[in-house]
């Protein structure tokens, strides 16, 4: 081969490569990259899997949305590493997915300051709702206090006067008890923080028995609640139990068993909510994944729907326009009514549900509305308008 022909080949390669790179870049500009950091392995993975499945169900027909899903193993340090990698090397536009408030506190403040939009499908720590609110942070689920506030309100209407309350010792646990106390008017027979991830509640149940309480409120998400409910049922104490939906959700009820029957719990969503978006979601989720959706799945789905609505009305390259489009929340939520308060957390109805049996399957049905159009307690502390 002569010298010239080698040169020509090289030239073709350079030009061709350059063009390919250019075209490739063009194509990439239209693609929206979403980074999802969520818990997919170990304890609590059911929650992350549901959020992921709900989100992917919402965006599955949209080829221009590219989702990178990574497992945080419920460890804050791993979540931070994943976020750094997604922002720096995957160049994501939007982050989402985190389940646990302590992980959210580790990831979200740094990410939103790098001008990444974060859509929270679950965690809503109070620190990110008040002074720490940010124009790039949107919570699509709830502010952490919300469901517990409704539980406190329900306890008043049920006539409870002396409640024993307990939650794990981490940001969401503290938000939970604060939220409950904000609305509950009776006395506290006792107040306990347990270790996050604790499974055995013999010591706590003994104290409940000795406290003379007339009711119990607890927030113990995931496997913690399963252990508590089973051990509580065996203890022979017969006091009414109120809790947020997290310990009575579809994924968990099977493991709790009949111990959960009749328990009142508060939720912003329920499978039997009567609106078009929810019916479509429940039936599509069932046919795609072969199981009933949980509230986490509905939150993941709503997060996806919110993102789609914002992308339909704006472009990701125009950050201000994109944020405004998100804030309008022009999508049909599985919860029916949904809009953002000025600190970009939802204003929504919170329902009281009861655990019932449909045939052999334990599930929930709505019995009343706990709080109507509930915003959150931290709106005024947030500088966003």
């Amino acid at each position: 081969m002569s010298k010239n022909s080698i040169l020509i080949v090289l030239l073709i390669l350079i030009i061709g490569g350059g063009t390919y790179y250019y075209l490739d870049k063009q194509k990439k500009d239209d693609v929206v990259k979403v980074g999802m950091i969520t818990t997919l392995s170990g304890g609590g993975s059911g929650l992350g899997i549901d959020v992921r499945d709900g989100f992917l169900l919402a965006v599955k027909d949209y080829k221009n949305i590219q989702v990178v899903v990574k497992d945080d193993q419920r460890k804050p340090d791993i979540a931070v590493q994943l976020a750094d990698k997604m922002i720096q090397s995957d160049k994501v536009d939007v982050l989402t997915g985190i389940i646990w408030s302590n992980l959210a506190m580790a990831v979200v403040p740094a990410a939103v300051n790098q001008d990444i939009v974060y859509l929270s499908p679950n965690a809503g720590p109070s620190a990110l709702a008040g002074k720490g609110c940010h124009k790039n942070y949107f919570n699509v689920a709830w502010q952490n206090d919300n469901l517990h506030e409704a539980a406190g309100g329900y306890a008043n209407s049920a006539g409870y006067k002396n409640t024993f309350i307990l939650a794990p010792n981490y940001p969401a646990g503290k938000d939970a008890l604060t939220g409950y106390k904000r609305f509950f008017k009776g006395n506290l027979a006792g107040e306990l923080y347990t270790k996050l991830g604790q499974k055995d509640y013999a010591a706590e149940i003994a104290q409940i028995r000795a406290s003379g309480a007339d009711s119990i409120f607890f927030f113990l998400p995931g496997g913690m609640g399963i252990g508590f409910m089973k051990q509580y049922a065996q203890s022979g104490i017969d006091l009414p139990v109120v809790g947020p939906a997290f310990s009575f959700d579809q994924g968990i009820l099977k493991a709790v068993g009949d111990a959960a029957l009749g328990v009142k719990n508060t939720s912003q969503w329920s499978k039997d909510l009567d609106n078009e978006a929810n019916k479509k979601f429940v039936s599509e989720f069932k046919s795609t994944y072969g199981r009933l959706p949980s509230l986490y799945a509905s939150q993941g789905y709503d997060t996806g729907m919110l993102l789609l609505s914002a992308l339909g009305n704006s472009s990701i390259s125009d950050k201000d326009g994109f944020r405004n489009a998100l804030k309008v929340a022009d999508f049909s939520s599985t919860r029916g009514k949904f809009k953002f308060a000025s600190n970009q957390h939802p204003i929504q109805d919170i329902y009281v549900r009861e655990v019932i049996k449909e045939g052999d399957i334990l599930t929930n049905k709505i019995v009343s509305i706990g709080l109507k159009d509930r915003s959150n307690a931290y709106v005024d502390a947030c500088s966003l308008k």
Binding site: S41, G43, K195, A202, G223, K230, Q234, K254
Partner: protein, 307 residues
């Protein structure tokens, strides 16, 4: 605070302690006899619980479920020893940590692949689901009482096995001088397989017993594994007696710490911060206990002794 509440909490601590003993017995033998750091011990706890949940669902019998947990973990232990662990006895501790950590990932993801990510249902039999009325108006769960009894019975059996039988003598001898008993014609490899699988089986039984009152889920073994390591460090590595005493100490310290510290701090702070501070310090209590024991007995309570 009443006497009955106090005694009930002691019983709770005892129950937690004997459960930890089942977990740490195997761990301490494997560490002491074979010099192997086995992080995958928690996986056998999980395997036992899942086997129990599966067989409880299939047969409806709690007894069969418990036997299944023991047998399943025994087999899983034997297989793991034959295929993998056997190859790493002579390696550095760091290599063992790495290899057994990989086993945790394999077991956890394998179980999740078979059973799914959501917790399984395993409940205690109806005959044990109620409570006793003891003197001093103490009400205590029959099931927890049964756990305490099972734990003590197994502790007694193990004590006789180690101190009175041939295999026990060999295990102790292996702890002291592994080349020598090999030279004396004891099949050391077989001995190791037996010890490893027995330890795994006990962990599996503990997982099933506890799974029935807590939750049967992937990753349930690792938190218990950490506590089991604390127990064997306190008790002295390789000592069954040490594991028993250490387990009870850890169980009672943890339970009483959780119970007493928040009320102690409520003398100084308002209720909300007292419970928060109290429970934070309560979760450190067993590590403080471990540090204190190590200051006075650097090789643990029964470490270095031959029992």
């Amino acid at each position: 605070m009443t006497i009955s509440l106090f005694i009930e909490q002691i019983l709770n601590g005892l129950q937690f302690g004997v459960m930890l003993f089942l977990m740490s017995a195997g761990l301490t033998l494997v560490f002491g006899v074979m010099g192997l750091i086995n992080l995958a011990h928690g996986s056998f706890y999980m395997i036992g619980a899942f086997a129990a949940a599966l067989f409880a669902e299939l047969t409806g019998s709690f007894m069969i479920a418990m036997i299944a947990s023991f047998v399943a973990a025994l087999f899983a232990g034997a297989l793991t020893e034959l295929i993998i662990i056997r190859k790493i006895y002579k390696r550095d501790h760091l290599d063992q940590v790495l290899a057994t950590f990989a086993l945790i990932l394999l077991f956890s993801e394998g179980i999740r692949w078979i059973f799914g990510a959501y917790p399984l249902y395993l409940d205690i039999p109806n005959s044990l689901s109620s409570s006793f009325n003891l003197p001093f108006e103490i009400i205590y769960s029959k099931y927890r009482m049964m756990i305490i009894l099972v734990g003590i019975i197994i502790a007694i059996i193990l004590y006789f096995l180690i101190s009175k039988t041939l295999i026990g003598i060999r295990i102790k001898a292996g702890q002291n001088d592994r080349e020598m008993i090999g030279a004396l014609g004891v099949d050391v490899t077989k001995l190791y397989t037996i010890v490893f699988s027995l330890g795994a089986a006990l962990a599996g039984l503990a997982g099933a017993l506890i799974g029935a009152i807590q939750s049967v889920e992937v990753g349930m073994g690792e938190p218990v594994l950490i506590l089991a390591f604390v127990v064997i460090v306190i008790g002295g590595i390789g000592s069954i007696k040490g594991a028993f005493v250490g387990a009870l100490l850890v169980g009672i310290t943890d339970t009483m710490g959780r119970f007493l510290l928040p009320s102690f701090f409520s003398y100084f702070f308002d209720n909300a911060s007292a419970t928060s501070i109290g429970s934070s310090i309560a979760s450190m209590s067993i590590y403080i206990l471990m540090a204190t024991v190590l200051i006075f007995k650097p090789s643990g309570l029964y470490g270095g002794k031959n029992d």
